[in-house]
């Protein structure tokens, strides 16, 4: 932009060699500002491209499924599906929630029922605790 400036570019780095005359930095500052704005734009673009996070994936997937559900329930494309299919579709979100709840309950219940108790180890541990308490009481520690 300014004739008194030289711009050196190397890979992602850009250096502005500007002429600062008589404490007047305007030429240099304006060049820097221009580069900073375009540089930030490029950086932002890169960030949007390269961080397709797990959250974004889930949001994307759920919105696709949600769009399909809305299409069937509210008949947005005017497809006029048979009544039975529409009857099945509209409670689907609540149904999936209930199924997930049932699955969670069943998993918790099953793991409680099949938990591996070790009764001898428990009794042994309690005996050791009692022994330790006695020992410490003898040595003067107040419990």
């Amino acid at each position: 932009m300014h004739d008194s400036n030289t711009i050196i570019k190397f890979a992602d780095d850009t250096m502005v060699v500007g002429l600062i005359t008589d404490d007047d930095e305007t030429a240099y500052m304006e060049e820097e500002e221009g580069l900073l704005t375009s540089g930030l734009l490029a950086l932002k673009f890169h960030i949007i491209l390269f961080t397709m996070t797990k959250l974004l994936e889930w949001v994307f997937g759920i919105s696709v499924i949600g769009a399909a559900w809305a299409l069937v329930t509210f008949d947005l494309l005017g497809l006029r599906l048979p009544e039975a299919y529409r009857e099945v579709a509209w409670p689907m979100p609540v149904y999936l929630l209930v199924v997930f709840g049932c699955y969670s309950l069943a998993t918790v219940g099953y793991r409680v029922a099949t938990f591996n108790d070790c009764e001898e180890a428990s009794k042994e541990l309690q005996a050791q605790i009692k022994e330790a308490k006695e020992d410490l009481r003898k040595k003067g520690l107040k419990m």
Binding site: A84, E87, V94, V98, C102, G109, A113, N116, D117
Partner: protein
């Protein structure tokens, strides 16, 4: 293996969730394909309740959780020590 009460509670949870799953699946997915004059329809409420009842259950659950948190927070309040 888990002992007496643990086994009973665990298995009853499994049984209850299986029952709930079966009833709800028949209600939501199978009934629309059954002729409206079939005798099985009398064992199920009208279709709107298949969404309203879980909604009410969720509200009650939220109320219980909120009340529990409130009670515990109230019990643990301590005046600031100077």
């Amino acid at each position: 293996m888990a002992t007496g009460a643990d086994r009973a509670v665990g298995m009853s949870l499994v049984g209850f969730s299986l029952l709930l799953f079966t009833y709800y699946t028949i209600w939501v997915i199978i009934l629309p394909f059954v002729d409206s004059d079939h005798v099985v329809h009398q064992y199920f409420l009208p279709r709107e309740y298949s969404v309203i009842l879980p909604g009410i259950a969720a509200l009650i659950l939220l109320l219980c959780v909120g009340t529990f948190i409130g009670v515990v927070t109230w019990k643990n309040r301590r005046p600031k020590v100077d």
